[in-house]
């Protein structure tokens, strides 16, 4: 301190002498004598258009590239789906490119399976091995080989088909856990993919559809929602949500109707009844669908307000108001989503909501639903196909499994027996970029490019009314010694030779893509196709004219859904578990990205882990405090999770996000949190086998110790909004 005062004094005496000496000198900047290579100029950023692959929605992105490195991902304003907007997952795709734990070269297994011990090998050796693995199944009808992928669309689908045509016995399983295969099970499934015209509707009813988080195309619907609320000068859209859990989407609603799991459909029938009573149904639409008002009136006759309140467990006043609003405000739109679809009574429940939409005359109408048939090839499999494959593996019929873009070891519950069966496959080849749960089991890993290094075309499965082909292009040079999966297929075709090589003569996927796109995009076949493609790449894809809406055929008359069933005995397991897709990790594919790990969950505000949501009343009965570790058990298994007291949940329901608890996937994902799929018990005798993420009964037991829970919000402070005047 003495020194300080000394400096102070000497500083003051120096002040006068120095002040005179302060002059600003002129500085000159030297221009470049030799311009830098590669068109890179320091300090100048370029934007490259591409397409997001973090969820199936397929939003258009712009990647800011500076000094040869991708720096930031933004939404592509010219893309009709997301119009310049992008969610957190999309932006975090950047970290996939630069992830420190990416697989940097081909690997051959050197230790026991699952040990993660691999030896790097050269691409020549790797390709040779792949060709050797594939060779026995060529032109053979023996069912020894399977390709496991996510659902494929566009030229990836055609390429895979072209390739696998030469392996007649091979199974292609294109499955992922959150793929909305259930959309096809309702009344309107045949119509194709829906685009909900949220922005133009006035009353929105969500039946367990978390369209702002994970349902179909969250960015598209998020954008529509903003306009629905406040873009029209005198109209503010009103929104009610029915479902057992107050999800982020439900939190944005004006009214949340906390219905029992699997009972939401009753409200749809209640509204249908009132529509008919007040004669506000759309007779033309009903007639077009071949629905008779009398028949339906008969079907829904019992569903007066009291009955609806009884079935759903929601108080009568709220049910009454909601029904009043739904029949009096027009246009009113009903969206049905996963929380309904993941119950045992799903097909009929979905049909009930679709019936409501038909009666409201919502098809192909502003403020309603536009269905546009997808003309492009789509490869997807159902859960039933998966079960058949598991059976084959169990019996040892499968000799070779190729896994690309899919992580079934993680995303299937142990009760499906997949993990056990998969271990019986003698040869597993993975095309993953990370040592994730599935690729850890692989014998050979041929690492693919990251999305920002790849070519491709992405066709949005929902949310657009015109034909849209989003294009992916590499925005940076590949960081590591990797090869894209489609390039590998072409290379394998070359190596295998014969007819296969003749049919797939392209030297690279880019060539294949160009050829394939030329078939589908009329503009490319006129003039200089290369120039045209460049133009499309610049704008992010091909955005076709609005397509002719699909016409509704005759519908089967709806039938009443049964009561929802749950796996496990009610006496033994008094609570119902709702597993929901995390907004940050979707189905778990993004949990290796640190930006998403540290993005607080919107509702629980938890970061870097998983948790179990419990209604505070239930927690008080069981003596569970916030952050305390609890043991959750079901008929299928038992896991431990920290508790989050969650007032927006029915007391008999507990909820857990999907996406954590990986046994691989790099330093940020591995061993973090718990995978709730371990609890999922299988429902027997369902007409449509599916992952019923909301149909398992559990019991919970406090363990009287603190769990690893970190929340960004203070648990008590979170209830004190009045201090902000909010």
């Amino acid at each position: 301190m003495k020194r300080r005062s000394f400096l102070q004094l000497s500083g003051m005496s120096l002040a006068t002498s120095m002040l005179a000496g302060c002059r600003k000198g002129n500085e000159k900047l030297l221009p470049f004598l030799v311009p830098p290579d590669d068109g890179i100029s320091p300090g100048t950023a370029n934007y490259y258009a591409s397409t997001c692959r973090q969820c199936p929605a397929g939003c258009g992105i712009l990647v800011r590239v500076s000094e040869g490195r991708a720096k930031k991902i933004e939404g592509n304003p010219r893309h009709p789906l997301n119009q310049g907007k992008l969610c957190a997952r999309g932006q975090a795709m950047l970290q996939e490119l630069y992830h420190p734990d990416r697989i940097k070269q081909p690997l051959a297994r050197s230790g026991p399976r699952g040990s993660g011990e691999y030896t790097p090998i050269s691409w020549d050796a790797a390709l040779q091995q792949l060709a050797e693995d594939l060779a026995p199944y060529r032109q053979s009808s023996s069912a020894g080989m399977a390709l496991l992928t996510a659902p494929l669309r566009g030229s990836m689908a055609t390429l895979t088909q072209d390739f696998l045509r030469h392996f007649p016995g091979a199974t292609h399983l294109a499955w992922e856990p959150l793929h909305p295969e259930w959309l096809a099970e309702g009344m309107l499934g045949e119509l194709g993919s829906p685009d909900y015209d949220i922005e133009n509707t006035q009353y929105l009813l969500s039946f367990g559809a978390d369209f702002l988080e994970s349902h179909l195309s969250p960015v598209r619907y998020g954008q529509g929602f903003g306009q629905f609320r406040q873009a029209r000068p005198t109209i503010r859209g009103r929104f009610s949500y029915i479902g057992p859990r107050l999800s982020m989407t439900a939190a944005s609603a004006d009214r949340w109707l906390p219905a029992k799991s699997g009972s939401e459909w009753a409200l749809a029938l209640g509204i249908a009844r009132r529509l008919l009573q007040t004669n506000r149904q759309d007779p033309a639409a009903m007639q077009a669908a071949g629905l008779s008002a009398a028949e339906i009136a008969n079907l829904v006759a019992a569903f007066d307000e009291a009955k609806v309140a009884e079935i759903t467990g929601v108080n009568l006043a709220d049910i009454r108001t909601t029904i009043d609003e739904a029949v009096s405000i027009s246009p009113a739109l009903a969206i049905v989503g996963e929380m309904v679809a993941w119950q045992s009574n799903a097909p009929a429940a979905i049909a009930a909501v679709e019936l409501l939409n038909v009666m409201l005359g919502n098809l192909n109408k502003a403020g309603g639903i536009y269905y546009s048939p997808t003309s492009s090839a789509q490869l997807s499999s159902g859960y039933g196909d998966l079960q058949r494959l598991i059976g084959q593996m169990e019996q040892g019929q499968l000799q070779l499994a190729l896994v690309y873009g899919s992580n079934p070891v993680y995303s299937l519950p142990p009760s499906s027996q997949f993990q056990q069966a998969f271990a019986k496959v003698p040869r597993i080849v993975s095309f993953a970029s990370f040592l994730d749960d599935t690729s850890r089991q692989a014998d050979l890993i041929l690492p693919g490019h990251s999305n920002l290094e790849s070519w491709g075309d992405i066709i949005p499965p929902a949310g657009v009314r015109s034909e849209v082909i989003g294009l992916m292009q590499p925005v940076v040079k590949p960081l590591h010694d990797t090869l894209a999966f489609p390039d590998l297929l072409l290379a394998a075709a070359k190596a295998l030779g014969g007819e296969l090589a003749q049919e797939l003569p392209q030297n690279s996927y880019l060539e294949y893509l160009e050829t394939d796109l030329t078939k589908r995009i009329p503009a490319l076949s006129t003039g200089d196709s290369r120039q045209q493609l460049d133009r499309l790449l610049q704008q992010g894809g091909w955005f076709g004219p609005e397509s002719e809406p699909a016409r509704l055929g005759r519908l089967m008359p709806a039938k009443l859904p049964d009561e929802a069933e749950f796996a496990g005995a009610a006496e033994q397991f008094p609570l119902q578990l709702q597993i929901y897709p995390s907004i940050n990790y979707y189905d778990g594919r993004s949990s290796h990205l640190p930006w998403l790990q540290q993005l607080p969950d919107p509702m629980s505000t938890a970061v870097w882990g998983s948790w179990l949501e419990i209604n505070p009343q239930t927690a008080a009965q069981l003596g569970i405090a916030q952050g305390e570790l609890v043991e959750v058990s079901s008929a299928a298994g038992s896991i431990q999770l920290p508790a989050v007291l969650y007032p927006g949940l029915r007391p008999e329901v507990v909820a857990c996000p999907l996406g954590q608890g990986h046994s691989g996937g790099g330093r940020y994902a591995e061993g973090r949190g718990t995978n709730p799929l371990q609890l999922l018990a299988q429902l027997e005798n369902l007409p449509q086998p599916r992952l019923n993420l909301g149909a398992t009964r559990v019991r919970i037991k406090p363990l009287a110790q603190a769990g690893a829970l970190a929340t960004s919000g203070h648990p008590e402070g979170s209830y004190r909004r009045e201090l902000l005047g909010l």
Binding site: N82, A88, Y98, P600, P602
Partner: protein, 238 residues
């Protein structure tokens, strides 16, 4: 619509009726501004570095329960409590109404953070690190802050600068909406708008005249440049 630079007073309008709480803005901000990673322990200890956070408030009890989201970032107060308490001018007010933070100057008294009623200033408790090659994502436009330095939302000052430079090259003023911070740019429901509050015709100025407008802690007299629009239609009693 163009304005001269001397008339600029940057402001933001956040429509809470549009905000869905999705967190896209949080990640956009983190990506744009080279914000360091915070591990689970860091979060548990309250050392989260995010400049923008979504606050979630619960209201009421089951079944009449609601959750409200409040995106919280530096409010760029006109009468900012953080500024005069800084002994070294690390925190100061720019001519365009921004709350500047000079990282080089900051000695880490953390006084500004205490005096910020919005608690939006974050402190670098340790040197940031990105395992290789994750550091390649860092934007060259922004410095990486070392330990001991206070940081906070800058309204994406680098984007404002870039916008101005481009406008200057084209010999014109800035257009309304030309400059957007990363959060506003990405926000799917379009809850965040940014612009010049001094231009009465700008989008933010028009929105700021909404009857739904309010500012946080108006009674403290901090005169924030972030204006919120109330979320409507909440008929459930708290």
């Amino acid at each position: 619509m163009t304005t001269e630079a001397k008339d600029i007073r940057w402001g933001m309008v956040i429509d809470l009726d549009r905000c869905t709480g999705c967190g896209a803005c949080v990640t956009a901000c983190q990506a744009e501004n080279n914000i360091a990673l915070t591990d689970q322990q860091g979060f548990a200890q309250g050392r989260n570095l995010q400049w923008l956070r979504i606050e979630r408030y619960w209201e009421g009890e089951f079944p009449h329960v609601r959750a409200r989201f409040l995106p919280m970032l530096c409010q760029h107060c006109d009468d900012a409590p953080c500024e005069p308490v800084c002994p070294v001018y690390a925190s100061y007010h720019t001519a365009e109404g921004l709350n500047g933070q000079v990282y080089n100057r900051c000695v880490g008294t953390r006084y500004c953070a205490n005096n910020c009623p919005y608690a939006v200033r974050v402190f670098n408790f340790t040197d940031p690190s990105w395992p290789e090659p994750l550091e390649q994502q860092l934007s060259p436009d922004i410095t990486v802050r070392s330990r001991g330095v206070m940081e906070k939302c800058s309204f994406c000052i680098q984007r404002i600068r870039r916008g101005k430079e481009e406008a200057k090259l084209e010999n014109r003023g800035l257009r309304d909406g030309e400059v957007q911070p990363a959060c506003a740019q990405t926000c799917p429901p379009g809850a965040i708008s940014f612009g010049n509050l001094d231009d009465p015709n700008s989008r933010v100025a028009r929105m700021a005249r909404s009857p739904r407008r309010f500012r946080l802690f108006e009674d403290l007299g901090t005169e924030p440049s972030v204006i919120y629009l109330k979320g409507g239609g909440h008929e459930h009693p708290g």
